[in-house]
Symmetry: C2
Subunit: 348 residues, 2 copies
């Protein structure tokens, strides 16, 4: 049964109400809430009953004050890919579900020069225990430094170690990109184009390295005009597509550093009347919703993003998430997903 909380005038029951009803001191109730040992089973039961009867829920603000620490963790992101953010967030919530923690989500405007100041204000005001930084802002060292300065723990999420291992959660993107490109090579592709992510992004560099690794293994090299710069946006994919597909000897396959750019390349292929995958194979990266919304469906690399969210939370605040000890390695496995945008090259 639940107390009549809906009625006007009725208030949230407090620890005092519980104590009075159970006939014990508030400190004893506090002990029950916090699962202290040194409590007689009989007393615990009585208090537990009183809690149920009143529908008592401890006031998190009061607890935070008394504990001299709050129970907030923050998710800082500036992600062009909304689905990624939400999936990650879901993973975090999976991990903290049975804890006392709450999650604050905070978009960060990377472009703004007030960015650092804004984040500082946010962190100073909310004082979360820890913060999780999603790529690309996870690569911002000033941000990490700010967290350190303010005594806020942090975890950086990314495709490679960006910091000490204790501060990172990452995935083996490089390896999986290599695997995807090997697949293209295995199908017979020799002229493979590459559309890069933005300069200065670790993730972009990782993917590029994976690409080159696979090429090297096969004794191939990337023709300079088969390389296109990009910035992870659709428009950059279109530009890259225009450039690569207008060549006298265009690539028969293109690896794009994310799905959005792959969609851009694909639309250029369509508008030029090239069939995909018949005349051009395309691979993307992210497994964003776009990957399955375009036609043909895009072969891509899936980031274990939800798991990374859960892992990031456990890495950030292991002391609040009892049970699971932190596994040794912070690297989770991405997977290559084959759909319909890849086939053997047309016979010359």
């Amino acid at each position: 049964m639940r107390a009549n909380k809906g009625e006007p005038g009725s208030k949230q029951p407090t620890i005092n109400d519980v104590a009075a009803l159970a006939g014990v001191s508030k400190k004893t109730v506090s002990r029950v809430i916090n699962r202290s040992e040194f409590i007689a089973e009989k007393t615990r039961k009585a208090v537990q009953d009183a809690i149920e009867t009143l529908g008592f829920v401890p006031n998190p603000q009061a607890r935070a004050l008394a504990f001299r620490r709050n129970f907030l963790i923050a998710l800082l992101h500036d992600n062009p890919n909304a689905q990624t953010v939400l999936n990650f967030q879901q993973g975090v919530l999976d991990a903290i579900k049975d804890s006392d923690l709450a999650l604050l989500v905070r978009p960060v405007d990377r472009g703004s020069d007030r960015m650092l100041e804004d984040v500082r204000i946010f962190l100073e005001k909310q004082r979360p225990i820890g913060a999780m930084l999603l790529p690309p802002i996870s690569e911002n060292d000033a941000l990490a430094a700010l967290c350190s300065e303010l005594g806020v723990r942090y975890v950086r999420v990314g495709s490679a170690l960006l910091d000490d291992a204790v501060h990172c959660v990452s995935s083996n993107d490089r390896e999986v990109v290599a695997e995807a490109v090997r697949r293209l090579i295995g199908l017979g592709h020799r002229r493979i184009g590459f559309v890069r992510g933005p300069v200065g992004f670790r993730s972009a560099a990782e993917r590029e390295e994976g690409f080159h690794t696979a090429l090297r293994e096969a004794g191939l090299t990337l023709a300079p005009n088969h390389f296109a710069p990009g910035n992870y946006r659709y428009a950059a994919g279109v530009e890259a597509g225009e450039a690569l597909l207008s060549l006298a000897e265009p690539p028969t396959a293109v690896f794009c550093s994310n799905d959005e750019m792959a969609a851009g390349v694909m639309s250029v292929a369509h508008s030029k009347g090239l069939s995909v995958p018949g005349q051009l194979s395309i691979i993307g990266f992210d497994d964003s919703p776009t990957a399955t919304h375009i036609w043909p469906a895009l072969s891509t690399v899936r980031w274990p993003i939800r798991e990374m969210g859960a892992r990031a939370a456990r890495t950030l605040v292991p002391d609040f998430l009892d049970g699971t000890a932190i596994e040794e390695s912070p690297v989770l496995a991405s997977t290559f997903i084959e759909r319909q945008s890849v086939a053997a090259p047309a016979q010359p």
Copy 2:
């Protein structure tokens, strides 16, 4: 200048530190923080200086406790469209930026039968002042009832009034859908297909009504086999496409109730070798990222989602967001966006 907060052993300065430094009582400092009147300009200045010197930031937990109310608002969502959620969230943050409010974001698992119970636990634990419900869960009356029961204000966001006007923020989707369909008719289309959203969704019904309105005005009717059910998912779009485009006399244009389904229809058109928009015009709804990532770019309806977020926040907690008085009408304007997926029908 800022205090040496990074150093180990140094603590957050409290109101007491400020009071001591300024040589006043903590209550006076409190008055300055809360912009009380009845404070001598000289004193205010002294306190303000002390605050700056120490880098003092009031502890929100302590304030919440003393005020007997916290400063949290919650965003409850279960949205297939991540971008929508993030844009809405951004709008909310725009609105609360200069206030004391903080935002909790909480995904809700609509499918789960524990959904209501989960939300109840969340609300009882966090006790936010108010909650904003994004569609489709904004249509859930049980959820609204739960908020009322727990004394949590709420605002429902949707494409039509779902509740009292005080509890709603919506947009004129019906009208804009009609406008889009009129455009098709104006181009000469007579056989126009319709792919509906899920049964029981207000948004789906609104869009359908708008569609019929435009048809009626032009003296047209929807052939029964030009209607396809759907659920806002890509796969449903594919099914609808298969059904509509296999007809002996297929529609020359299709209005899809969201972009994802439109993408599905488009991919079927591609695979059947139909050119879009040459042989088939397609219109979507949402202006999701997908709309511009597919080829040809999709004509669609843009929801003023960020503005709605800001508006929802102001409607929810006008008393915390000074300045802007609430405008009378809670209906914001959606807009029809023309891209490349619409053209005049091929001559028969």
